[in-house]
């Protein structure tokens, strides 16, 4: 794993984000942990005194992101990694079209990412270094019947990150899109997933992939399965119960 010294993790109060904070701090990295739930962040900070700093912030309040970003970098004394791990996936019924739920997902999963990662892009472009990691999902590969907007936000995030990668590679900045599969987190608790990786295992794989720019699945099996799924023709895909 590439050694990072100063990182911001957005969406750090639970799940994959919190695990990424723990694993970075365990390696001596100073981390600004950003999320809504301050009590969770403070508990996380207490696990790594002097290494993890808590910043309470709601990613849907995009206009506040630049100020929090600047304050976090000031307190860290620099920055070489930004991880955007914030995301929501409310339960959506098979025939449900709820715009409020959709708006929540667009705001947290995509607009928040743009607000934060634009700040990271400006900084890294100017300092000619840095790594941006966006936590996408295999769910963004196709539009599925179960989660139309969740899929769309993760697809939008992947496309946005690809564009950032194309913009920033000439400045020596790495932009990594990781696409975890199903993982045991609070977000997926309602799905009753079994035999899927824990957040801790997924976080470890994400950080292992953070050294190389590009779009990454987290395991060779995922790569095979989801490459096939991605290429299933639409007329067939719409008949599958996926």
């Amino acid at each position: 794993m590439v050694r990072f010294e100063r990182a911001i993790v957005v969406g750090a109060s639970s799940g994959i984000g919190a695990e990424i904070v723990r694993q970075l701090a365990a390696r001596g990295c100073k981390v600004a942990a950003v999320a809504r739930r301050l009590d969770r962040l403070q508990a996380l900070a207490a696990e790594f005194p002097g290494l993890v700093v808590a910043f309470q912030h709601d990613v849907t309040r995009c206009n506040e992101a630049p100020a929090v970003f600047q304050e976090a970098t000031k307190q860290l004394g620099g920055l070489d990694l930004v991880v955007y791990a914030a995301g929501v996936m409310p339960a959506v019924g098979p025939d449900e079209f709820d715009f409020e739920k959709d708006r929540q997902m667009v705001e947290a999963n995509f607009l928040g990412a743009v607000a934060w990662l634009n700040q990271a892009a400006i900084r890294f472009q100017n300092t000619r270094q840095g790594t941006i990691v966006g936590v996408g999902s295999v769910a963004g590969d196709r539009g599925r019947r179960g989660q139309p907007v969740y899929n769309a936000t993760k697809a939008a995030l992947a496309t946005y990150l690809e564009a950032l990668r194309n913009r920033l590679s000439r400045y020596g900045v790495k932009v990594v899109t990781v696409k975890p599969g199903p993982t045991q987190t609070e977000m997926t608790a309602s799905l009753g997933l079994k035999a899927v990786p824990t957040a801790e295992a997924t976080a470890r794989r994400i950080l292992a992939k953070a050294g190389r720019t590009g779009e990454r699945y987290l395991s060779p099996v995922h790569w095979v399965v989801f490459t096939i799924l991605r290429n299933v023709p639409s007329p067939i895909f719409r008949r599958l119960k996926l």
Binding site: P66, A67, Q70, E71, Q119, R123, T127
Partner: protein, 469 residues
Amino acid sequence: MSGARLEPERIARLQGFGLACAADAYVVRPTTVDEVRGVLDLACQTGRKVVLRGAGCSYGDASIAPEALALDCSAMNRILAWDPATGVIDAEAGVSIESLWRTALPDGWWPPVVSGTMMPTLAGALAMNIHGKNNSKAGTLGQHVLDLEVLDGAGRSHRLTPDDEAFRAVISGAGLLGVITRVKLQMHRVTSGNLQVTPVSVGNLDAQLATFDEFEGVDYRVSWVDCFARGARLGRGLFHAASHESQPNAASLRPESQDLPSKVLGVLPKSQVWRALRALNRPLWMSRVNWAKYAASRLHGDRRPFTQGLVAFSFLLDYVPDWRRAYLPGGFIQYQSFVPLAEARRVFRAQIEMQQKAGLVSFLGVIKRHRPDDFLFTHAVDGYSLALDFKVTPQAWPRLRELCWRMNDLVIEAGGRFYFAKDSTLRPQDVCAYLGEATLKRFRDFRAELDPHGLFTSALAERVGLLPD
């Protein structure tokens, strides 16, 4: 969280001259004193510190600080008045040494003290109180300043002359006591743009110091050292003495006659030379390069005087563009220590032996002769300095730092000193030992008076404990 926010586009990665250390800071380039005041106000509003930066020619971390406002004074670069009759130049402090000589040389004047590159600004050069190859004769740059204007950390402007105690603190104060905004400097009279240079090939360290003595009183004295040579040849090298030509030579005073050639050996573009240097930039090759340079000095030019332009002789570091890139990716540090006359031979011999024993040999060593001065953070002593360029790699860095610390102990024990413009490795205890508690107290008193809000900082100042919380 502080209310005001900085423009995110101002962030930049700033490096030391040795490219071995870096920090991200918000860069501002004021063009007037009022704009400098505005920067200080902005720092207060945003809760940031201010690091002063000229041309970024300090080798280590003296002009960088993480997440600070980097006040780059290089846009305040107007020459306000030039009097060819008296040789007094009045300039904004961001003016470069290159601007100084290009302005003054056609009228028969040359900067009284110059560094090895013509890039530094006057403000940076005075913050570090630079010396040149003529240190033992002309002293430091600060000794030629007639007066200067300084903006302190509270935004108050001060005009300081050599009669003021603060004059000797701001000059040499490493940019921690105020922003030098304007300087009146006495230039040095010359009738020719050329120097008479005498090279002397010297076989060991004893011969080095004896040769310096032999040429006592000459304007410039400097000697290259091959740090790879051992035993009886330890400290061998090539000494140069140079004097200003006494015969008037109007043609040589034209700046264009001083311009350095753009090609090496008439064919190889200099802009590409660093690539060749980079290929050679490892111990095995550099030991051979050092050997070849010494062997060449024995065969050619030993004690055969030649004429050389002031620019070519003075600004050796500008001779090969981008030469520092030869040290990438890790960059390099320069370790320079100043040791009193009586101890120099012993300390320098030990320093060279310690490098060889540690397997971390400097690719380039340079000896100069110095004289003391009464500036607050003076680096000079009545003795010699040995400057050593070390390549930095992540693997070797812990051992290199350890080597420097052990060399520091020798220098401190011998009553020697160090130079913030070069330093990358000093620890708080080293600085306390060589500057002394009385000097540090005077510095703190000046800080309380000139920087009451504690705005000015640098990574170096934090590292060596000059700015206790």
